[in-house]
Symmetry: C2
Subunit: 472 residues, 2 copies
């Protein structure tokens, strides 16, 4: 079967661009010239150019013509900048999420914390008590922005940390997933460019795909964190509409930005007048010292949509999150009215009640201690049993460790073999739009460190070693 003529022409042009016949930023022959040269009709040439434009290979400039788009990937001094014009989320993500539902499988690949870590009886009492006192009008009274008591309690927690957030800018949502999605919708239109981390939480990739956005992926390092030079370069190169990242216990690598990096990042945002979506769902889970300060603490706070939830630290199944949305609060409310109307009322009331009880901080202290102990135990086990050359992150909070296997090892294979042995892990491919983390794994360290877990790490290390020896 032969391709239509415009597709043939597009392919030819694409090959020429790849071969640097036309350099990034260079003007292509005009449509008229191209017609003359190719002998094709104007419509055909136009379609070819438009196809390449829709693929991001060309850009059109009003009153001027078609130009080769800035090159991708860009080689930068401090790393490399990659872009994705179209993100396709791997089907595997859904299979992995589903595997987590099977209690027969050791859930190292799970995104959820060990559910037994939470004060369920107390939450149940709060729920029962809240719903007994619930006014029939509560459904209407708790329309967006959501329950007032709960918003005030959340604002108080911000205040105690020194972050200026008013109850009015908080919108209660169905988990942080909804607040992140609403934030992205408020800041972007389909086709816009967004700067994201690489590797990133797969929810970011899904959000970008769903909204039909284009992404510039900013390199992360499990020790150094985000590459600010690359971010700066991205802002200079693409019309970035929003930046979406995690400043504390980044998922999946676990890195936390130091104060200096935070200042520089905010400077870049201010200079470029780009709004920030700050996903901060793990911040309460620090192991020592204080809660890491969010970027929201900066003077740029009105342009920072700080998203968090109770799902990682108190009540996973309740699906209650929020966004402190600064200048965007009323637009977020409207979007929510259009999409889910409001978060479920009884669970909002239950959390407001629970926060008033005053035992939340005691629970968090216990939770942090347990997560730290479990992470240390599992980290040591992995460190002691995986092949030499394995790199392991050492997060100071949260419940993930990031494992870089040595050499060219294929973590997706490990994932499949482990699953056959009833152990789930999260392969690195879940966290990027390409294969650059295909030698990495994310492990959930929140579960009880017992013989079952020990044996599972042992089995994993055997699988890894088998693959390692094949590659030597």
């Amino acid at each position: 079967m032969t391709l239509p003529r415009y597709q043939q022409l597009a392919q030819t042009l694409r090959r020429q661009i790849d071969a640097h016949v036309w350099l990034p930023g260079e003007k292509l022959p005009s449509l008229r010239e191209s017609c003359k040269q190719s002998g094709l009709s104007l419509m055909t040439v136009l379609q070819a150019y438009q196809l390449l434009e829709s693929q991001g290979t060309l850009v059109s400039r009003p009153q001027s013509g078609y130009y080769v788009a800035p090159s991708r990937p860009l080689r930068l001094e401090h790393g490399s900048l990659h872009t994705a014009e179209q993100i396709d989320v791997n089907d595997a993500i859904f299979d992995i999420l589903k595997a987590g539902q099977d209690s027969d499988i050791v859930p190292f690949g799970s995104a959820f914390p060990d559910p037994t870590l939470f004060p369920q009886p107390k939450l149940a009492r709060s729920l029962a008590s809240a719903v007994r006192r619930m006014s029939p009008h509560s459904a209407i009274a708790n329309l967006p922005p959501g329950n007032e008591d709960l918003r005030r309690s959340i604002a108080q927690r911000y205040a105690l940390q020194g972050v200026e957030v008013t109850p009015d800018e908080i919108v209660i949502t169905s988990g942080a997933m909804e607040s992140l999605g609403l934030s992205l919708q408020v800041l972007t239109q389909p086709g816009d460019w967004v700067a994201i981390e690489s590797p990133a939480f797969y929810g970011v990739l899904q959000g970008i795909e769903r909204r039909k956005l284009k992404a510039v992926t900013i390199p992360m390092d499990m020790e150094q964190g985000i590459d600010l030079a690359a971010l700066e370069q991205a802002m200079a190169t693409y019309p970035i509409k929003a930046c979406w990242l995690m400043s504390a216990f980044q998922n999946p690598q676990g890195c936390t930005m130091n104060p200096d990096k935070k200042r520089q990042l905010v400077d870049i945002l201010i200079r470029n007048q780009v709004a920030l979506i700050e996903d901060d769902v793990y911040a309460e889970l620090y192991f020592n010292g204080d809660r890491p300060n969010p970027l929201k603490m900066s003077s740029y706070r009105q342009e920072i949509l700080h998203c968090s939830s109770f799902s990682k630290c108190l009540a996973p199944g309740f699906r209650v999150g929020w966004v402190a949305a600064g200048n965007y609060a009323s637009r977020i409310q409207r979007l929510q009215l259009m999409s889910t109307l409001s978060a479920s009322v009884p669970v909002q009331l239950a959390l407001a009640d629970f926060l008033h009880q005053g035992s939340y901080d005691a629970h968090l202290r216990r939770l942090r201690r347990q997560l730290e102990l479990r992470q240390n135990a599992m980290r040591s086990a992995v460190l002691n049993s995986f092949p030499p050359g394995t790199r392991l992150s050492k997060p100071t909070g949260g419940y993930f460790i990031w494992v870089e296997l040595p050499g060219k090892m294929d973590a997706t294979k490990i994932y499949q073999q482990a699953l056959a042995k009833r152990i789930s892990v999260a392969p690195g491919t879940m966290f990027a739009v390409d294969n650059r983390f295909s030698h990495c794994l994310r492990l959930n360290t929140s579960f009880e460190w017992n013989t079952r877990a020990e044996n599972a790490v042992k089995t994993l290390s055997e699988l890894v070693y088998k693959e390692y020896n094949r590659h030597r």
Copy 2:
């Protein structure tokens, strides 16, 4: 300030098209001819043509050229077909929703049923009991498609009505708003055409706006219901990707399709292979006889996404809805995992528990009786006090009446004047993208028929008469 040349050219072409220089469906001069004729550059002409294409005035055909789009509005034998390339939801909608939160205002404009109509103590007991028995793993176990017991109970209710729906095709959502939104996302890409009712539930207009879709609005009549000839014509004229409507107690007009109309509608869908989003949230609220059969009952059921919830008939604040999504169930699940992850777990468990108690149908019988009595009372009061020429819908279920004021009366003015007197009504402009229902009101009849309500109708009628007399 002068317009850029391409915009000037676009305006000129637009004027020519409006003046029938170029007829709908006719080919426009080629780009080359147009360049020659206008003396403008190819890029400028191209931009003008593309601008008109983006506005829906022109359509381009591969390998051929630019054509004038089919005319809008089309004049049809049985009504007229209107389209909206871009929908802007009036800010007033949000103000009206907010006004409903003020208990000091008589809530005739509210979309919510009287909250005192629901079995709150029983629901509270179900919630307390469910959450006591809640396993720590429930958050994960109840990921999409949602709680299995609840899905089975819903499937049983379908089965009792003779509708073939399996628990597997049901996805539990955060209210019907989420299920409708997910359905729209699964069926369409931004820029696609969708057929909707006119007037329609404003959530439809918001959903279309949010997704950047184009709409063909199909005329409705409060007695005759949807204009099938117009729908058929719409399908023949535009590449409709989905149809979105209500077959029972349509919001806002209250009409229910008769079985013959349903058959014809399904035939049209099948002939055109267009999927249907069926919003059926009021179906349980019938006054006499049986629950109206949904379109989902037809042989085309796999292509019908039947959306409903417990928000209108049992538990308004819980925000639990569902979609019986046929062929689209797994795609809906994936989209939900990306957007809100899952519906709140405790409220799902509570509803599953409540449905097992077996008192749901007794509650519904009481609810229907009360809604009927209240609707009759309010309808009579409006009928007896509003000016001659007023048309009133007579729905056989639900809790809205639709009021068409005589002549050229401005219902938005009535809305404003009524609000000043602490009475809310829903002006017709909320339910369309243009002003064609600006002489209409929707009234919520679910509230207790007492002196306050009587006086409110009296005040309304005085406002209406004042306006009526001004127009005579």
